[in-house]
Amino acid sequence: MTLEDWILIFAFVALVAAIARPLGLYLDAVFAGRRTVFSPVLRPVENGFYRLAGVKAETEQDWKTYAVAILAFSLACTLGLYALLRLQGLLPLNPQGFDGVAPNIAMNTAVSFVTNTNWQAYGGESTMSHLTQMIGLTVQNFLSAAVGIAVAIAFARGFARHPARNGGASTIGNFWVDLTRATLYVLLPISIILAIVFIALGMPQTLAGSLHATTLEGPSQDIAVGPVASQIAIKMLGTNGGGFFNANAAHPFENMGPIVNLIQMLSIFAIGAALTITFGRMVRDERQGWALLAAMGVLFLIGTGIAYWAEAQATPALIQAGVDPAAMNMEGKETRFGVAASALFAAITTAASCGAVNAMHDSFSALGGMVPLTNILAGEVIVGGVGAGFYGILVFAILTIFVAGLMVGRTPAYLGKKIEARDVKLAVLAILASPLAILIGTAFAASTDWGRAGVQDAGPHGFTEMLYAFASAAGNNGSAFGGLTATSDYYTYAQAAAMLIGRFLVIVPALAIAGNLAAKPVTPASSGSFPTTGPLFIGLLALIILIVGALTFFPALALGPLAEATVGRLF
């Protein structure tokens, strides 16, 4: 471990905090419908979209209508993408001549990209045509992220709305408007900038299929290329994480060097961090947003520190092979990033529900690999996926307020809104849906031949491969312990079910809470109110997240990474 590496980790956190505020204010302006720098160009486009789609922008929706709109839109996207994947062999812009994708992989991939998971049961450069990458996968990179942002904003409105000022209405916005604005004003302009910067720094962006080379020693090398930069920009910004290539952000074309790596890491966190500030502005108390961001920061630094420490040591397999015990764990890591930037990236991509990887998590040490796993299991609320992390941590905030209320024996309230039985029940449903899918999916996989057939490594590590797969799916993360072969019918369908549960059984309760809260009057803070901006709340929130995660997952972690770290032999 070196001082330089620790400086990198803390500098990264400082940069995220620096980006959060300006971007957060911009998001606030966009979703309030105020004028922004892009309005002169984009307002006419926006209005044109509404006209063609028959959307009345001023009409607000209650939470049920909002939820139905999301479900209908997601269904349309899933079916559209599935059809494209199946038919790609008959369609143009397919320089490699790839066939249509097999039904189970196509279904898994369609669900995966629509739920912002971007789990990839295929190798990109050997499966997907350029047309599919562009009009299928890139599009869902945008839209699934936009849906997440929309839900986050709608949830925040639940707290921000004063029914007395609204004529008693309990609406939470208009999904079609939020979706359109998130895509047009936020994701598209930033992606354009990122894509151009990436190309300038060396990332391919071409419609050609490959670059043919004759290597120095004679054999030819066929190098896959394609419209990479345009997809990688939104892949990071939208916390999608689905790579153009199989090796994802470890591939030198997706992540050429340390500067691009830093930009990508910042892109993953940018919108998720900014949304906390947007929330603070919407409830007219910016400190509320900073408090949430601080709780995220504490959890993030703990995990990152552990991962870096663990990866800076040789693993048992390397030591048994006779490698210098002082060496670092470079298996599955790229030379240009080294251990620190790999551990940092792993923590970021799982704290957010991104799932891009610049090193192979499967080859991390037992404890180093437990950090990304734990980040996912904690619900990806440490910054989190765009939108998803934010409504995730708000659900935990509601639980925290409830627990604090129990401890002091008064009716809990958050931001002046009373938290009542219905809100807590919905919050618990949202918190427990994913763990249920993870534990049942893993238990079933571990106890059947279908599940065990996919495992690569023997011993506790094999169990962790299965646990990680279901955590990644239900958490809508998309990273993997890649040794697992997840292309069988069992894995593709079970994973798809887990992805759907992890996405929509969180979104729908979150929207229900928002609708419930929007209807409640705001009681002004008094001396008896629990302050939700101080270190006490921040600490309690972080603790609740850890306790819920530990209570739910400790047995599974004990069978997997903890057993592996302590057993002291190879398998």
Partner: protein, 191 residues
Amino acid sequence: MLQTLRPALVLFALFTLLTGVIYPLAMTAVGQTFFQHAADGSPIMRDGRVVGSALIGQSFSRDDYFWGRPSAAGSGYDARASSGSNLGPTSQALADRVRAEAERYGVAAQDIPVDLLTTSGSGLDPHISPAAALFQAQRVADARRVPIETVRRLIGTHTELPVAGILGEARVNVLELNLALDELPAHEGAS
């Protein structure tokens, strides 16, 4: 029903056009116009032929070239099938593989820089550490019959350092280093 279906289908179609056709094609146009070399995959030309990409590693096994890291991409540096080994920290298969890699260098594993024994995440890592290059300098110098100082100097000039001291690791691009070896003047080669 129609109230929900119409915006769902129309917006899906419009955004597919905007983010799936216009956006990537516009970026391709920008890339091909202003940054064509990068946009094409950073090809390296020698004598009018493409010998590789500056960003992608390739297999080397001759004694007079520096060797890159072991690769799990296809049968090794297959740039159509990027992949890591994904072998875990307590994998016997990993230990056996590392031991076999060490034999290639003919010394104890303990004395070999660890990047030369481990596969990268992509299987296409174009770099090795400066230590891994210096470790091979004697073999390359002997095979080429050049003074080892010449080879060491070449490694030095091809070492990229971390940006601002904290971003990235010191590294050497194996393909570029080997191309530079081939460029060494003939009289040095004869000494």
